[in-house]
């Protein structure tokens, strides 16, 4: 499993650089700040064993994040803070996730070059932009028209050509393009919509960040096995052992 992932990662990295090189000049801006952001993500990842699989976050994901101009995805008044490792408000009660969480989610989705990925909750469009070089196609649905339209325009302008955004109800997924190898659900929900489970390909992965705005509690990973059965895993973004001394109860 892992060597294949590595290969996919390598290929994705190549594609990622190709995709981003082809975008416009702003990508060059603030590269130093992005590099520092990547270092923060790496250091967080070293202390978050539960949510990080294998040897740490896929270098291809980090390479992509080092290129996506995050400052162009946040409102003007937030641009100064765009590369801090923190969530930022983007209006309408929504946030752009903390870069570390974006990295974890993209890593967990583990998309390959031929994969179709569905995102519920486009928000600023940043997550879709980070997924873009790692998948064949990213479909993203946003419930709030203003956010969806703005994100679609921004992604088009930055030439993320394989991202398609529509405004609508994410509950039913996007059946025309199903099944999906990966699904990211960033919109809060009391339960996982059954159509999304149905549209997840066998062997596919769904990631749901759970928590309040500005405070991700854990990431939920939903996996559909080859036999169609569903399991979930709750992954903490932090290495925290609730028992003092770290011992297990017997």
């Amino acid at each position: 499993m892992r060597p294949l992932t590595q290969c996919k990662a390598l290929l994705a990295a190549v594609l990622a650089s190709a995709a981003v090189v082809s975008t416009s000049a702003p990508a060059q801006d603030r590269a130093g700040e992005r590099a520092a952001m990547i270092e923060t993500i790496k250091s967080h990842a070293r202390s978050a064993p539960s949510a990080v699989e294998g040897q740490g976050i896929d270098p291809a994901v980090l390479a992509t994040m080092a290129k996506v101009p995050r400052h162009l995805f946040v409102p003007e008044e937030q641009r100064g803070a765009a590369y801090g490792d923190r969530p930022l408000p983007i209006g309408h009660g929504q946030t752009i996730s903390q870069p570390f969480i974006v990295a974890l989610m993209t890593d967990l989705i583990n998309a390959g070059p031929g994969d179709a990925v569905l995102e519920i909750g486009t928000g600023s469009g940043y997550q879709a932009a980070v997924l873009s070089p790692h998948a064949a196609k990213v479909y993203s649905i946003e419930i709030i028209p203003e956010l969806g339209q703005r994100a679609a325009a921004r992604l088009a302008e930055l030439r993320y050509g394989n991202v398609e955004v529509k405004v609508g109800d994410g509950y039913y997924g996007w059946p025309e393009h199903a099944p999906f190898d990966g699904i990211v659900v960033t919109a809060a929900a009391s339960h996982i919509p059954p159509p999304l489970v149905e549209q997840l390909a066998k062997g596919g992965r769904m990631v749901v960040p759970v928590g309040a705005p500005f405070a991700t509690q854990f990431l939920m990973l939903v996996e559909k096995r080859q036999d169609g059965s569903i399991t979930t895993r709750q992954l903490l973004p932090v290495g925290f052992v609730p028992l003092r001394g770290g011992g297990r109860a017997r």
Partner: protein, 823 residues
Amino acid sequence: MRAGRLLPVGLISAATLAYEVLLMRLFSIIQWHQFAYMIISIALLGFGASGTFVALARRPLMQRYPAAFAASAALFGITAIASFAGAERLPFNALEIVWNPRQLGWLAASYALLILPFFFGATCIGLAFSRHPDEIGRVYAFDLIGAGIGALGIVGLLFLVFPTAALRFVAALGFAAAALAASGIARHGRLAAGSLGLAAAVIVVWLPASFTATGPHMSEYKGLRMALEVPNARVVEEQSSPLGLLTVVESPTVPFRYAPGLSLANVQEPPAQLAVFSDGDSITAMTAYGGDPATVAYLGRTAAALPYRLLARPRVLVLGAGGGEQVLLALNAGADNVDAVEVNPQMIELSRNRFASFVGGIFNRPNVNLHLAEARAFAATTGERYDLIQIPLLDSFSAAAAGVQSMHENYTYTVEALRDYLAALRPDGVVAITRWLRVPPRDVLKLLATAIAALEAEGVPEPGRHLALIRSWNTATLVVAKLPFGGEDVAAIRGFAGENFFDISWVPDISASDVNRYNQLDQEYLYEGALALLSPDRADFTERYKFDIAPATDNRPYFFDFFRWRALPELLTLRTQGGAAMLDWGYLILVTTLVQATILSTVLILLPLWFRRRALGRAVPRLRFGLYFLALGLAFLFIEIAFIQRFMLFLGHPLYAVAVVLAGFLAFAGFGSAVAARWKAAVGGGSAVRAITLAVVVIGFLAGTYLIALPSIFERLLALPDAAKIAIALLLIAPLAVFMGMPFPLGLSHVGARSEEFLPWAWGINGCASVLSAILAALLAMHVGFTGVVTIATILYLAAPALLAGSRGSSPDRNRSRTKPSA
């Protein structure tokens, strides 16, 4: 005539206290209820600053007393509205504090604005004390009774009008006090009074609603605001009471589909729903129902449906009816009869009347009875016996939801509560409790520990055989059975869990291979926790766990307090990686507020006192007098707040407890202060110190008696009707409060005889101590419980007279004092 002269004092005191309660309500709507404590600390800042101001500017103010009082009261009226309108427009975002220190600046700006009305309100009272040094008992009585009426009045008013409308009345009350005081101005007094009266009327009638509307300024991260961002979502009904603001929202384009704990195996879409938001946040759903059980079959695939697998045609009690989801589940799972309990009358109005046809009239069925009551009180007093007591995911009956006094007492999840539920079961009945599952777990482990303690207290030899715990990915349901689970029960539980991809964390004869199958945690905390809590390792496990999961009791009813100091450094270090989500912010805000309040009182009270020490003259032992009023301020509110906490269970409602206990203490203490001079003459033989000593001995005796006797009095009388219980509560409070009202005015007259300059300080110190004490009492109660807080208060009272008695050169008779104000 004389009483009329002090009427403005009563009015402004009522307005200031009402404003404090009202601000808590308003901030629960636009922010979160944790901020209620910050309002207390803001009030403190206002009281403290006014004490300093009156002391420094005493002479010029006294020369123009009626004008100064009227101006200050009018400024209260203006700032009561303007400060709130300004504060709600600041771009403060509480959720962002962890990430953005600049938010602290906006918080400070809110403080700066909101301190103003408290400053002006308290200035009026400080002026009155300085103006009438011979009638301190009477001024104090007007102050206390006014405050009592204000506290009770605002609660009543909030049943009639929305909080923003109540704000106008409170401001107008300030102007009314100003108008009354202005009539005493020598020149143009009538003109001033008339125009101030007119201002009061103008505020009530003319002020544009948008000026203080909460809707547009509610935090955009609250559920209601987010729901209304969705296209075509709209508010269809809004109701307000002191219990909270209920907002009903319909969202036809993108339905709510609210169904926590729903199985991943479910394929059905929930039908149309109306969401009911409480104070713009916590949500309960009213589900459309046309009588066809198939349309709501998904409810049978939520974790909370587990007990219906174990029972045939059960008689069900739902504690927390909300929008009726659990009633619908019960009816469709074949319940014979359902009693549903809801604490908020307006929620009942919505689900049983206003939207009755939408919910399919489920609350009007002959086999469904909807009761207006607090959950625990209902369970403790019901004569019925049930097969199932279902406690769903609703915190609507918690004190916190009220926001009137945001102390987080919760009598639903204590050891005694679980014993009450077990007692209300038929022999083979079960209690089922559903909670959100947080990772790492807190609530669920604490619930498990509480259930084990309750079963043991009932004499159950093997509690583990009476427990079953299953979890979905975001909820956990604990089932506690009166009799041990049999083999059939266990098979049914396993079957239900397996079909729905729920994990079993505990069931009799569970083995390690049963757990963590479908919803995998990196460690099966709940199973391991259950094993440890059911073994002799329990104390060690509870001690080593980084969250407080020791069972909650009626003496320390803080189920939702998981905070442990020793986990704080680790969680703060990890705050940018999810550590912040594991912190108990309520507790931290409380501690922060206490620290803030302590610093502010030092700066505002002690520093000026130090600089002005010469003015007070040498005959005044500042430190001892200061400590006397500090001790009284602390002790009075310690007892009052502990009583509010304790009476919540007896009166069956946090709101009744706050209103009855607060008003009872204020009014009877007011009476006590009015008769204090007679007590001094008759019992103290003219000596203030002796009179105070005798009063505190009575206080100590009564407090001690109540500590021992209250639990059994409550237990016996809990079943009485509300009105009788309120009368009994007031009867119990009266003797204690009357004596608690004496030490302050007696102390003031004793001290005032030495230096009238000291009076504003005494007032300021006592005011600060009272407010500090409100925060401190809540913190202490979490650690030492109700009995601990009352014991500390009693010790403070008993020690207080020594601080006055020991003063050098003291003479009990104020007429012999030679020290005159030296300024």
